[in-house]
């Protein structure tokens, strides 16, 4: 009879548990609690309802229903929340995870396969969690003659650069963006420029043939497609006269720029596919030719990090397309138009005799508004919306459009074959650059004809 643990004794097991508990308690008492206190000492805590939030107050308010909403509101409107959760990393990582799953299922359906099926009872919905666990638990293998510092740094740098790209993307009206730069579009170009460096450095540091070939291919591809990428967005910059991404979105409140710039949109979409190394431009990772291209030597969570970074990049590019050509978060507001008094003063609740005894806030609104006393007036007619309503509606429109663009990015993978390197360079250097100049001339024509742009008809 084979047993899993032949020397198992209950006494040893209990002793192990008690030993661990003893050391954990000791270390928490001696190091953990002082560390928490030191962190709390230097942390700048917000002022909520005229009272400085201390750790003691926070724990008290957690169980006080009337103070929970201000507490959560202060959390939502903090910088940390922006960077970590909503318009920043967490939101993008969630969309990226959904993208991975949808991509696998959709490709399978396109090719008459089943796709992930067994993890989780419904359509393999837990496959992603299973893959993540697998990647975390796998051993990280580093090639013997690899350049270790660079090889370790490359996946982290890749995720970091992708997260910096995500941080520039505005998601909802009212400044829901991590870094609202005056030169946002230029910052996007600057961040995109870092990807080829990281790719080529990781490919070189692996000291292996396949990654190096893949890295050189990636370098060719990214450098030659960066130029039409930048040029194809300049038409919109000429029309709007700004580089700030939020202002570019607000300029499209009546119509999206894709109506006037379809050529720019097509060029940008093609260069986007090339920058993301997706089929038909997946030469850097061509798995039928060079194993996995520049990802060949990555294993375990290092590979997971690179995958996470590339899907974050995919989300960021799709969101950039939405922001520049499809109007970002603009769209009809989902909420029913309410009376002004109903929002600003609340709903009066009468007693049996009809006399109002108390007023309550309109449900669902106060949580997302920064300040309940400050209301945002929508422009059309007399309709009044709060900033929370606009936020929810804007995010829904933005996510819908972004998911649509992501779908069109995924679709070619099931349809097209890989193109040759010389055809790729020919497309990049001749056709796309020419088309993007045509796009710029269309924009200039519209401006000088006085149709749109600063001081135009529309």
């Amino acid at each position: 009879m084979s047993v899993i643990a032949p020397k198992f004794r209950l006494g040893y097991f209990l002793k192990g548990i008690f030993d661990n508990a003893f050391w954990i308690l000791t270390i928490v008492t001696l190091a953990g609690i002082p560390a928490i206190q030191i962190v709390l000492f230097y942390l700048e805590l917000p002022v909520i309802d005229g009272e400085l939030l201390t750790a003691f107050l926070a724990f008290t308010w957690l169980f006080n229903p009337t103070m929970q909403i201000p507490l959560i509101k202060a959390l939502i409107y903090s910088d940390l929340f922006r960077i970590v959760a909503f318009p920043g990393f967490g939101f993008a990582a969630l969309i990226a995870a959904g993208t991975i799953f949808v991509e696998r299922k959709m490709l399978a359906k396109l090719q008459l396969r089943v796709g992930p099926f067994y993890c989780g009872k419904v359509e393999g919905i837990l496959q992603l969690a299973g893959d993540g666990l697998k990647l975390i638990s796998k051993e990280i293998i580093i090639p013997a003659k690899a350049d270790k510092p660079l090889f370790w740094a490359a996946p982290v740098l890749f995720v970091g650069t992708a997260a910096a790209f995500v941080a520039l993307i505005p998601v909802a009206p009212g400044g829901w963006v991590v870094a609202d730069l005056d030169v946002g579009l230029l910052a996007v170009f600057a961040v995109i420029g870092f990807f080829p460096i990281i790719t080529i450095l990781s490919a070189w540091s692996a000291n292996s043939k396949f990654p190096f070939i893949g890295g050189i291919r990636a370098l060719h591809q990214m450098v030659s497609f960066e130029i039409p990428l930048i040029l194809s967005l300049l038409g919109v910059v000429i029309l709007t006269g700004t580089l700030n991404l939020s202002e570019i979105v607000e300029s499209q409140s009546s119509f999206p720029w894709i109506i006037f710039m379809p050529i720019g949109a097509i060029v940008f979409f093609t260069t986007m596919l090339a920058e993301l190394e997706r089929i038909p431009f997946d030469l850097p990772e061509a798995e039928s030719e060079i194993v996995a291209g520049w990802l060949t030597e990555f294993s375990g969570m290092m590979y997971g990090l690179v995958q996470l970074g590339s899907y974050l990049k995919l989300y960021a590019f799709a969101a950039l397309f939405v922001i520049i050509f499809l109007g970002g978060w603009t769209g009809p507001v989902f909420w029913p138009p309410l009376e002004t008094e109903l929002i600003t003063e609340g709903i009066p609740i009468p007693n049996y005799a009809g006399d109002p005894i108390l007023t309550v806030n309109t449900p669902g609104l106060p949580l997302l508004d920064k300040d309940p006393n400050e209301w945002v007036l929508q422009e059309q007619g007399e309709l009044v919306y709060t900033s929370g309503q606009l936020l929810v509606s804007g995010v829904i429109w933005f996510v819908l459009k972004t998911v649509g663009v992501i779908f069109f990015i995924l679709l070619p993978r099931g349809v097209f074959p890989r193109i040759r390197l010389d055809m790729l360079l020919h497309i990049g250097w001749y056709k796309l650059i020419g088309l993007s100049f045509v796009n710029i001339f269309i924009a200039l024509g519209l401006v000088y004809a006085g149709v749109i742009g600063p001081g135009g008809i529309l």
């Binding site: 030169v183 230029l186 995109i192 420029g193 460096i197 080529i200 450095l201 370098l219 450098v223």
Partner: protein, 168 residues
């Protein structure tokens, strides 16, 4: 705060410049060069001109440094370079650098830059663009023509007759 930031960026820029010269490994040297160029971009940000800083990042770190890396990786360094250990040349170089820095510093300090004090806002990049398109447009068009001519010249020089035209 600004002083600490300035010191940090200065240390980054100068340190990585020295590293770019002194590193044995060419790839690490070019990474250090990237650090120098990025530090210069940091100076531009501190000088309230993020427009120039972003172009510094996009052009110098994003393109020039990639070209340098690309070239370095295709070169077998053992075959080309022989390291000449010559302390005299090193000290001569350091001395020359000090002389140049002192001379330039003396000239700049003597030019009255210390007496300039202004509270006006930094120049908006839109104004610079407007100036380029209105007052300085002949210079802009001349530069564009020269660049276009040089690109065409490079294309003509790079054209080879013996290759097969690509068949699509």
């Amino acid at each position: 705060m600004a002083d600490a930031l300035f010191l940090a960026i200065s240390v980054l820029t100068i340190g990585s410049a020295i590293a770019a010269l002194e590193m044995r490994s060419l790839v690490y040297g070019s990474i250090a060069l990237m650090g120098t160029l990025g530090g210069v971009a940091g100076f531009y940000v501190m000088l309230d001109s993020p427009f120039v800083a972003m172009f510094q990042l996009a052009v110098y770190v994003g393109s020039i440094a990639v070209l340098i890396l690309f070239t370095v990786m295709l070169v077998k360094r053992e075959l080309i370079f022989k390291k000449i250990e010559d302390p005299k040349r090193k000290f001569a170089g350091i001395g020359l650098m000090l002389i140049v820095i002192l001379a330039l510093g003396a000239v700049i300090m003597d030019s009255g830059i210390k007496t300039i004090s202004t509270d006006s806002d930094p120049v908006d990049f839109r104004e610079i663009g407007g100036d380029f398109l209105t007052y300085y447009w002949p210079a802009l068009i001349l530069m564009a023509l020269i660049l276009a001519g040089s690109v065409m010249g490079a294309l003509v020089l790079a054209r080879r007759e013996d290759t097969i035209e690509n068949e699509q």
